[in-house]
Amino acid sequence: MLRYLLGRIIATIPVVVLISLLVFLLIHAAPGDPADLLLSEEASPADIADARRRWGLDQPIYIQYLHFLTNIAAGDLGMSFRYADPVIGLIGQRLPATIELAIASLLIAIIIGVPLGVWAGAKPNSWADNLGSVFGFFGISMPSFWLGIMLILIISGYFNWLPSSGRSTYGVAQGLETGFYISHSLLSGNIKVAWDGIKYIIMPAIALGTGMMGLVMRVTRSSVLEIMSEDYVRTARAKGLDESTVLWRHVLRNALVPVITVVGLELGTLLSGSIIVETVFAWPGSGSLLISAIQSRDYPLITGTVLTYTIAFVAINFVIDILYALIDPRIRFGK
């Protein structure tokens, strides 16, 4: 197992390097120049040339890439052109907001999606199945940005129940705006601050998590349907176990393997989906940071953020592999 894990870690290094090269080349090939976009419209050609020189953009691209790789080796992702701050620090400030949003969305997806899927799978073609399927298809087919705008218009605009955007209320956040706002407040027992964070996260988490909820529901349903016809389920029933024990202890545990695969893959999608949702809700996470970086062609920040996402995606898959083994002891790695 340990050997397998080490092998996986080493295998990620060329993946990350290759992706960094691709991102670097793609963003440099895209039309638009950071100096044009970041200096004001009063800037003269001389001002623009000066900025390009300061940012090293007057160097040949291979020199720029080598410079970038050398910096990465030293743990430095460079300086953001726009924010004039180290990229690693900027991402570090924004990532907790994105992670917290992704976790909240994941919770919504699992807490609603799995029971709905089990319910629907256990009673195929019943009204419960039909109702669950409606929820499932709604979630899968609803674009997150549209759902987000609808939530803002209805929940905030019409009912005035929740704040329309942002992450915290000024004066309540107590300096936690760039950290794990809700989890930190909950762990430190500060319910008032945690509640402030929860109010802000509900709508973006629903917008982001609804698609995943639909998928989780559908996969759980299919998986439960399949497992229900297995011999060991019949045996469990024959032993006289009641239906709920059969369902929740014997069926669900085995049905969860494909669900976990989907959740793992979808976690990556949550990260990329957060880019849109963060923009709609002015959520100050790494997704909105990436959007602003792309709009201003902030090369170091774009590359740094995409690399962070890549590493996160690889790490998530890594964790999912380990979870397989925990859920299904028959699975062994490296053999």
Binding site: S44, Y83, I152, G157, P163, E177
Partner: protein
């Protein structure tokens, strides 16, 4: 249990939903309108343009003059006894000199263009600064007035740039920096001892980033914010219909125009360029596409901008919609019906795509085979900056004194954006730059306006109304330059 976050509770706190924000603690690391307004309130600046008076008024400068014998020498007399927030240190000339030098030398500076006309800056004594320009520049105040943010030399020397900006953002402005969470909000707190503040100005200003118009309008209606910047025309009715807020329009100082680069055929033909200007029915577009939320431009500028002369404009600068004349000019130009592409940004300016969609059939109707293209903004702007776009719809913001903007777009060597070289325009613009008497300068500017209209490298379209949604609990007249100052807000 549930409920929106209300930023405004008592009268003293005003939250503003803004579309852009500063990206750094370094006051010189951004070059955006909102940034200048925020830092000017915190650190202080030389002065501001008073749109009501139509003239520059000093903030940390008392008065200023140009040497009559040598027009390159400007002398600024600074206010005495201005005490710094937090520690009471007096503002002196060395702070202004330090700030201009830092704009030029700070590796993170994105404001070098603001001090580009300056050759040298010298503190003559504690309250007098001499600025020497590279060449006579009558519009110097446009460059530096509210764009040279005056930061403290002693704090910089003692703590270095990074710590001075982050830990000691103390200045001589009316508001102190209370909190800055980049990407989320900027909070300013009133310095009650400052001579420019009144008790009815908000005690706390919160600039909250809300890029989406729906967010801003919803937050405004819910009283999460009290001012919402830039309401698009299609959401104006929603604001108008609400009982707790009102719509405040301000005629922007951003001029919208169509540019035609003579470097490219067929735009090297002046008659064809002129035909475009006659072919566009601007009033119709303003009424139907912009929902009357714009003012037609006759000439490059309009009321409230420096050099605007209603009489001269009426007599010399009006180009009325005249499709028959446009058709004649097209015919006389010898244009051979080759396709021309009109490039427009999408979502950068109010209804930009829609207005250009309306222009294309108008151009087609007079015999110009125009087609619309909608490149992504970053691509379009880079191409415009490098002179690679023959025909485009664009805005030029922050045009208080038009000298710099007109030189940039229409003077030989000003920039590659249009690339025209016209001796009449060059002569007129050079003349206004060395004319320091205000009355004579305004005349010289109008001569330049006429020269530009005759050569027609651009057709001037309109200035948008910037619509602000504002709570009825405050009184605030939006600033045409898009700056929001706490001292201009009254809490009722």
């Amino acid at each position: 249990m549930l409920g929106p976050a209300r930023n405004a509770e008592a009268g003293g706190q005003v939250a503003i939903g803004v579309t852009e924000t500063i990206a750094s603690y370094n006051p010189y690391a951004d070059s955006i309108s909102m940034g200048y307004a925020i830092w000017c309130q915190v650190y202080g600046c030389i002065g501001v343009y008073d749109h009501n008076k139509g003239d520059y008024v000093g903030m940390l400068a008392e008065r200023w003059e140009v040497d009559k014998a040598d027009n390159n020498i400007w002398t600024f007399h600074l206010k005495r006894g201005v005490k710094r927030q937090n520690d009471g240190k007096e503002f002196t000339a060395e702070d202004l000199v330090h700030s201009i030098n830092r704009i030029n030398n700070d590796p993170q500076s994105k404001q070098k263009q603001n001090v580009s006309p300056i050759k040298d800056v010298i503190a003559l004594d504690n309250y007098t600064v001499k600025i020497v320009t590279k060449q006579p520049t009558a519009s110097l105040l446009e460059f530096i007035f509210d764009r040279v943010i005056i930061s403290a030399k002693d704090l910089y020397d003692k703590h270095g740039a990074r710590d001075a900006d982050r830990k000691y953002p103390w200045g001589w402005g009316p508001y102190k920096l209370k909190d800055l969470v980049i990407g989320q909000r900027i909070v300013l707190e009133k310095d009650t001892s400052h001579p420019n503040v009144r008790p009815e100005n908000p005690d706390t200003l919160i600039y909250t980033i809300m890029r989406e118009p729906e967010q801003r309008v919803t937050a405004l209606l819910n009283n999460e914010i009290q001012i919402a910047q830039f309401i698009p025309p299609h959401l104006a009715e929603r604001v108008k219909a609400a009982s707790n807020v009102e719509l405040q329009p301000a005629s922007s100082v951003e001029i919208m125009f169509l540019a035609m680069s003579p470097k490219f055929k067929p735009w090297d033909n002046v008659k064809l360029r002129q035909a475009v200007c006659y072919a566009i029915d601007r009033d119709l577009i303003v009424k139907n596409v912009l929902k009357s939320q714009a003012d037609r431009l006759d000439g490059p500028i309009g009321p409230g901008q420096y050099g605007y002369d209603p009489e001269y404009t009426k007599k010399n600068l009006i180009i009325a919609y005249d499709p028959a004349k446009a058709r004649e000019l097209v015919k006389a130009s010898g244009y051979n019906n080759e396709p021309v592409f009109l490039d427009t940004p999408v979502g950068r300016y109010i209804n930009d795509k829609e207005v250009t969609e309306a222009m294309v059939p108008m151009l087609n109707a007079v015999g110009i085979n125009a087609k619309l293209r909608t490149p992504e903004w970053a691509t379009l702007w880079s191409d415009v900056q490098r002179g690679r776009t023959p025909f485009y719809y664009m805005g030029r913001g922050s045009v208080v004194d038009p000298s710099v903007a007109l030189s940039q777009y229409f003077e030989t060597g000003g920039s590659p954006r249009i690339g025209i070289s016209d001796p009449q325009i060059d002569k007129a613009l050079a003349a206004e730059r060395v004319t320091f008497d205000p009355v004579e300068r305004k005349k010289a500017l109008n001569v330049a306006f006429k020269a530009i209209e005759d050569a027609a490298p651009g057709c001037f379209m309109w200035r948008h109304h910037m619509l602000y949604g504002e709570s009825k609990g405050i009184a605030h007249k939006p600033n045409p330059a898009g700056r929001i100052f706490g001292t201009e807000i009254t809490v009722k």
